[in-house]
């Protein structure tokens, strides 16, 4: 047997490789088609259904819901509000997580493992439980206000408003941000920093000229992930918002569960998907610019 024939099975002809790719991709494509694509299409169809004031839905197609969305300024405010609040929370999460991720990246051995477990452990508790934890901390007679009182300072309203939602969501999103940052820190090499230091660069210059540019992919990934999670989260805004913070996700919940306007809930859901699409486009553009 010649060497060429022996190698043949390892390098199959192009056509059968294509078949293999299709075969390997088929299961996940099928799951996505059934579990994601079909419901989304169904949602899109429902957004054109007619709805009566009582909530009764008729399978008659109408543009009324979409027209209402365009003409009622409340929804424009809702979108601007949701996007800006989510961006703010993403930025805050980044600022809080970046130093932790950098420290984690540089630590070694058992210490690194312990820290990593500490960072991931909040994910083992559900967001509901953690949000109730924040209620205990931020309430009028909670830990923070009691401490303020002990120092002779006036109590602050820290929950049932945007402040509470921001604090709660930032903490809930931090583990995701830290993990995403760590995943994107691959290009960061301590030897480059050492070289810069040897050449006389002060710490801030090293951070600005070397560390920050090299960690941009991680920052982009973390921001994308946290923004998407922030826009779609509704439990924390529901529990900490006190009915004062109007966001897309909470409005979808209200329309679907309380007001029973399923077509409107469906329309808003499609809108959220469009916002996600926009975020993904921005992310790919940003990544291309960085790399």
């Amino acid at each position: 047997m010649s060497a060429a024939t022996a190698l043949a099975p390892a390098l199959p002809p192009r056509r059968s490789r294509l078949g293999l790719i299709v075969a390997l991709l088929a299961p996940i494509a099928l799951i996505n088609a059934i579990g994601f694509l079909a419901p989304v299409l169904n949602l899109a169809r429902m957004s054109f259904y007619e709805v009566e004031p009582t909530g009764a839905m008729r399978e008659v197609y109408t543009l009324a819901t979409w027209a209402k969305m365009v003409t009622d300024s409340f929804y424009a405010e809702l979108i601007v509000n949701s996007v800006s609040v989510s961006l703010g929370i993403t930025l805050l999460t980044l600022v809080c997580s970046y130093p932790i991720a950098l420290y984690l990246h540089r630590s070694t051995g058992t210490w690194k493992t312990i820290l990593l477990v500490l960072v991931i452990s909040p994910l083992l508790t559900s967001a509901v439980v953690r949000t109730y934890g924040w209620i205990a901390i931020l309430s009028d007679s909670g830990l923070v206000n009691n401490s303020l009182g002990a120092l002779g300072l006036p109590p602050q309203r820290m929950m049932f408003n945007l402040t509470g939602v921001t604090i709660g969501l930032t903490e809930i999103l931090m583990p995701y941000m830290i993990l995403a940052l760590l995943a994107g820190f691959g290009r960061l090499d301590p030897r480059i920093e050492e070289a810069a230091s040897t050449l006389g660069a002060p710490p801030f210059t090293i951070f600005r000229r070397i560390i920050l540019p090299l960690t941009l992919p991680g920052i982009a990934l973390g921001c994308l992930l946290c923004f998407v999670l922030a826009v779609s989260s509704f439990i924390t805004p529901k529990l900490l918002g006190g009915g004062r913070v109007f966001l897309l996700a909470t409005e979808i919940y209200d329309q679907a569960i309380v007001t029973l306007n399923w077509p409107l809930a469906a329309t808003l859901s499609i809108l959220v998907l469009v916002i996600f699409g926009g975020a993904l486009v921005l992310y790919t553009r940003a990544l291309r610019a960085i790399l």
């Binding site: 909530g55 839905m57 007679s141 918002g241 009915g243 004062r244 569960i257």
Partner: protein, 348 residues
């Protein structure tokens, strides 16, 4: 015939009998609220029904709210899994319009004839099975002088201490209707401006418009000290909290919330569903559930103990403002709009 042959025949006969019983065994699936409602309703109505009808087994299928019940009914329209549904009247109207129910009338249950007139809602296939009403709640440890008026919620001493389930929840909507009437509003279907103004005066005091998980524990724990909630749950919570939670029916009055019982079209249990509905509307079931959870009865013939009836709105019917929830659904959107623009901003 020897003994073993006799035993064999006996065994055969027995098995024949038991298969017959099995063949007669029917199952009724009742979809209704989870939690406290499930616990009390099972004890007061479901278990006595099964005792009286050994051939029928009742499966209680708990759901967190009426909207999710409607969602389930919609999803199972082709092959329903439930026979009986207990849900809020507005949702029942939506399900009626989508032709998901059989009409409940005297042919389904003779008890329908004994229901109070407002328990039979025009253009809704179900009939009322419980009445509840909005009450003012307060923490008896902190609030020493019992409040009398809904406007006490606007008193300066309660700044940041008020918990009201706000709109789109119908408790917030109910409060708008009550205050609109109290301030001289004549037709809530035309406008509720006066009610919105009154809520705007309460708004600066409000700590949360979304008390979670419910308003009752929030007031019992002292996180808030005064607010609004449903009477039945408040009464049970008043007992379980050892009297810490107190309730009052304020001078401006209240409105009824109606839970209807509905007969699902093409349910798997067939006529057994009608039997359960008949029992649920009977004076004895109505009495048992009112005495257990303090929902006002819908059957006029139910003989309820004085102690229990005193804890419902039955003795203060003059204070109950009639609300047509079905007609109200048409103007809910504009009221919601005013709530967002004129009430919420004042509570920031």
């Amino acid at each position: 015939m020897n003994l073993s042959t006799k035993l064999t025949i006996a065994a055969l006969l027995m098995s024949g009998v038991s298969t017959q019983v099995l063949a007669q065994q029917q199952t009724v699936t009742v979809m209704a609220y989870a939690g406290l409602f499930q616990e009390r309703y099972t004890k007061a109505v479901v278990e006595p029904f099964m005792k009286a009808n050994p051939g029928i087994k009742v499966e209680y299928f708990p759901m967190p709210n009426s909207a999710q019940m409607l969602g389930t009914l919609r999803a199972q329209k082709a092959a329903p899994q439930a026979d009986v549904v207990i849900m809020d009247v507005s949702v029942s109207k939506a399900a009626t319009d989508e032709k998901l129910f059989n009409k409940i009338d005297e042919k389904v249950s003779k008890n329908v004839a004994d229901l109070y007139p407002n328990a039979r809602i025009p253009d809704v296939d179900g009939v009322a099975v419980t009445f509840d009403n909005l009450v003012m709640l307060y923490n008896g440890d902190t609030v020493k002088d019992a409040p009398k008026s809904w406007m006490d919620l606007a008193k300066p001493e309660y700044k940041g201490k008020v918990a009201i389930p706000g709109m789109p929840d119908i408790q917030g909507l109910s409060l708008v209707l009550i205050m609109d009437k109290a301030r001289g509003g004549t037709d809530y279907l035309q406008n509720v401006d006066k009610g919105i103004t009154a809520l705007g005066e309460i708004a600066p005091n409000v700590q949360t418009w979304e008390p979670k998980p419910e308003v009752y524990p929030v007031i019992i724990s002292g996180q808030a000290v005064i607010g609004a909630g449903w009477n039945a749950r408040a009464q049970v919570n008043a007992d379980t909290s050892g009297g810490k939670l107190k309730t009052v029916l304020p001078q401006e009055g209240s409105v009824f919330q109606i839970n209807t019982i509905n007969y699902v079209a093409n349910g798997p249990g067939k006529d057994a569903g009608a039997k359960f509905i008949d029992y649920a509307l009977s004076p004895e079931a109505q009495k048992a559930f009112t005495e257990s959870m303090f929902y006002a009865p819908t059957n006029a013939k139910a003989q309820i103990s004085e102690a229990a009836i005193a804890r419902t709105a039955v003795k203060s019917m003059d204070k109950v403002i009639p609300v047509d929830w079905i007609a109200l659904a048409k103007v809910r959107d504009p009221i919601m709009e005013q709530w967002r623009r004129k009430v919420i901003p004042l509570s920031r």
